[in-house]
Amino acid sequence: MGEMEQLRKEAESLKDQISAARKAVHDVTLPEIVSGTAVVGRVQLKTRKTLRGHLAKIYAMHWGTDSKLCVSASQDGKLIVWDSYTTNKVHAIPLKSSWVMTCAYAPSGNMVACGGLDNMCSIYNLKGKDGNVKVMRELAAHTGYLSCCRFLNDSEIITSSGDCTCALWDIETGTQKTIFSGHMGDCMSLAVSHDFNMFISGACDYTAKLWDIREGACRQTFGGHESDINAIGFFPNGNAVLTGSDDGTCKMYDLRADQELITYQDPSIMCGVTSLAPSLSGRLILAGYDDFNCNIWDSLKAERVGVLAGHDNRVSCIGVTPDGMAACTGSWDSFLKIWN
């Protein structure tokens, strides 16, 4: 038997082993565990603020850690930092490339980052000496578009790319410290764990992967989706992963049981999920869809308990403030809305 054939057989056997091991701990389902828990009452959130200013589709938004400032990216070629309490624009940053797909706010509040079809992640210093916001670094090495980026701190950022890899960068030197390869399709989204030791990525190979940042290794892979995963996030307790896909469903995977616990789907939903964010307790999952709406799911009972209707085009991004006070939706209609 050639070595190639041997390896193929071993791979199949290991996949069967993983399947069997997951089955072995599957002693009950989530619906059975919550059968005695009532569905949450209808959730009706109202638009409290509308952030107006972008002139084209909004592709991404990210809250700052103060739950007040947020950054948004639009293909009008601007990054805008907003004071969401007053709707004032704190910074309007013109970009070299208008084909932006992602943006991020550093936990410190000192920097923002963005990137897109330019294959680069540009870091901007918000606290420059003369008050002007300037490009601090251009992180270039990916051979595909930048789909998502998240700061670990002021000196490190993680990126996901259409080149099927994710990377950990040293912002100071502008170099990749670690490359995370393994996905077999464009990486579309990433989320970092609260303790900053792990991150999860969702890709066009229909899987989500859990990565150990310092070891540079993929620890677990989760399948089940039938199309590209566009959105990913950690459940607030850090032990589960939420994904949103072009197959129209969201799923929750538990990290410690190493398997899917539940799917959030409805036969009436026939379009892809673009974005998602859990509420503070994790009980609610807000998910944005291609059909201009946002559905609010009861995460335990897997029932739709509300809708955020108000945008005139696709909801491309959603974020819940770190203090859980509000949700922000960004849309191709060029507006951001704050809800609670």
Binding site: C218, R283, L286, G324, N340
Partner: protein, 71 residues
């Protein structure tokens, strides 16, 4: 097929098997425990989840408190 591409396919296959071995060795807990912990976390934190329980206008930073002036 040139020797080079045969070798790189081999390397890729070896990496895949190595990764699968790693993922197969993960310690798994029972779904009953995982699901119960999730349920407990949600229920215990429900009372401090503003989107779930609602935010009174006076405490809502996105809603300035309405004042009523009588002249």
């Amino acid at each position: 097929m040139s020797n080079n591409s045969a070798n790189s396919s081999l390397v890729i296959a070896q990496k895949m098997v190595k990764q699968l071995r790693l993922e197969a060795s993960v310690r798994r807990i029972k779904v009953s425990q995982a699901a119960t912990d999730l349920k407990t976390f949600c229920l215990q934190n429900a009372h401090k989840d503003p989107l779930l329980i609602g935010v009174p206008s006076s405490e809502n930073p996105f809603r300035p408190p309405k004042s009523c002036a009588l002249f």
